[in-house]
C-alpha cells in the first residue's frame, strides 16, 4: 500500500537582525508545529537563522513563467526609473 502523502511546506529563514526572511527550501510535515521543528532540524544545523517562517506550499500563488515576458516587460522598457538615466554636471560631484 502506498504511504499517504504528507503536506508540503515552504521554509523561510531570517539570518541576522535587519535582513528579510529568505526562502531556503521545502519540507513535509503534518502540521505547522511539526513543520517548524523539522525546519529547525533540516535548515538551521549551523546557526543559519534567528527566525523561521513555514508556509503551506498550497497557500502560495505564483506568476506563470510562460507569461513572464508580458509580466515583466513594463519594467524592462522604463530605463528612466534608474538613477543613471539622469545627467548631473560633473562639477556637482557625487549625488
Amino acid at each position: 500500500m502506498a504511504t499517504p502523502n504528507t503536506p508540503l511546506w515552504e521554509v523561510f529563514i531570517r539570518s541576522r537582525n535587519g535582513l528579510a526572511h529568505k526562502h531556503v527550501g521545502s519540507l513535509h510535515a503534518n502540521d505547522a508545529t511539526m513543520a517548524l521543528q523539522a525546519a529547525r532540524d533540516i535548515y538551521t544545523r549551523r546557526g543559519e537563522g534567528l527566525s523561521i517562517w513555514v508556509v503551506p506550499s498550497t497557500a502560495i500563488t505564483a506568476s506563470d513563467p510562460a507569461e513572464k515576458g508580458m509580466m515583466f516587460e513594463p519594467a524592462e522598457s522604463k530605463i528612466y526609473r534608474h538613477p543613471t538615466f539622469y545627467e548631473v554636471p560633473e562639477e556637482v560631484g557625487h549625488m
Binding site: T3, G25, R45, P65
Partner: protein
Amino acid sequence: MYTQALNTAETDDRGLEDAGKAAQFQARIDAEERIEPNDWMPAAYRKTLTRQISQHAHSEIVGMLPEGNWITRAPTLRRKAALLAKVQDECGHGLYLYAAAETLGSSREELVDAMLAGKAKYSSIFNYPTLTWADIGTIGWLVDGAAIMNQIPLCRCSYGPYARAMIRVCKEESFHQRQGYEIMVTLCRGSDEQKAMAQDALNRWWWPVLMMFGPPDSTSQHSDTSTKWKIKRFSNDELRQKFVDATVPQAQYLGLSIPDPGMIQDADGHWRYSEIDWTEFKQVLAGNGPCNRDRMAARRKAHEEGAWVREAAAAYAAKRAQRQTAQAAE
C-alpha cells in the same frame, strides 16, 4: 555522497515533442539559464533528472547506515559527536534532494516507495561494510572526497532546484572530508596496529571509491545527452582523474600506500591508475555486493517501524483541522 555511477540520461524523444519548444529549451540551456520547475522541459529531461536526483537522495539516506554502525562505538566523545553530526547532515542532504526531485512532479512517498521496492538504485559504495573504526576515517576522506569532486560541478547544473540543493550540500560536505582525514592522521600517528588498521581500510575502499565515478567514458552511454543538457559538466574519467590526483599526495602525507602497484605518475603530473575491475562494480549494482540485502532490510525495517508515527501525526493533524472547521462554523 552521490550517484554518478547511475547517472544515465533518457533517450531524447524530441521527435514526439514540439520541435519549437525543444529548440527554445536548448537555447536557454546554451545561454546558461537555469530551468525552473514550472518551465517547459522535454519529458526525457524531466525523467532523467527525477531519476538522478531521487537516486542521489536514496544514496544519502542509505549512506547513513554504514556510518551509523559506528556511532555507539566511536573511540571518544569528540569523535562520537562529530560522527553523529555527519550522519544528521546526510539525512538533511537526502531531504533537500527529495524536495528538489519532487519539484519535477513525483511525490516523496512515490520516490521512497520505489527505493524500498528495489526499483530505484542508490550508490554502490554503500553496499560495502564498515569493519573497523578506520573505515569511518576512510569514508570521510575518500567517499566524501569523491562526492565533493562530483557535486561541485552539479552546483552549476541546468536545473535550478538541483543546483541550489547542491550548493547547500557542498557547504556541509567539506566538514565531512576534513573530519575523516583527521581520523586517518590520528591513526597513522598512533601505534603500529592503528596504522595497519588505516592501511587495511584504504586497501578495501580504494577500488570501490574509484568505481563511484561510474563506468569509463569509452563504455558509458547517454552521457552526451546529459552533457548537452548541462546536467553533467565533466565526464566520469575526468572526475576520477581529478580525484586520484588530489588523493595520492594526501595518502603520501599519511604514509599509506595506494593498493595499486601499477600506479605511476606521468610527465604531466597525473597519477595513472591500473585497470578497474568493472565486473565487481556490475555485481554490486546488480544487488550482489557484500551488504545489499542488509541495507535494504534496514531501510524497510525503519520505514515499517515508523509507520505508526506517520499515521499518528496524520490523525492528529486531521483531528485538529476538523476541530478548527467546527469552531469556525459556530
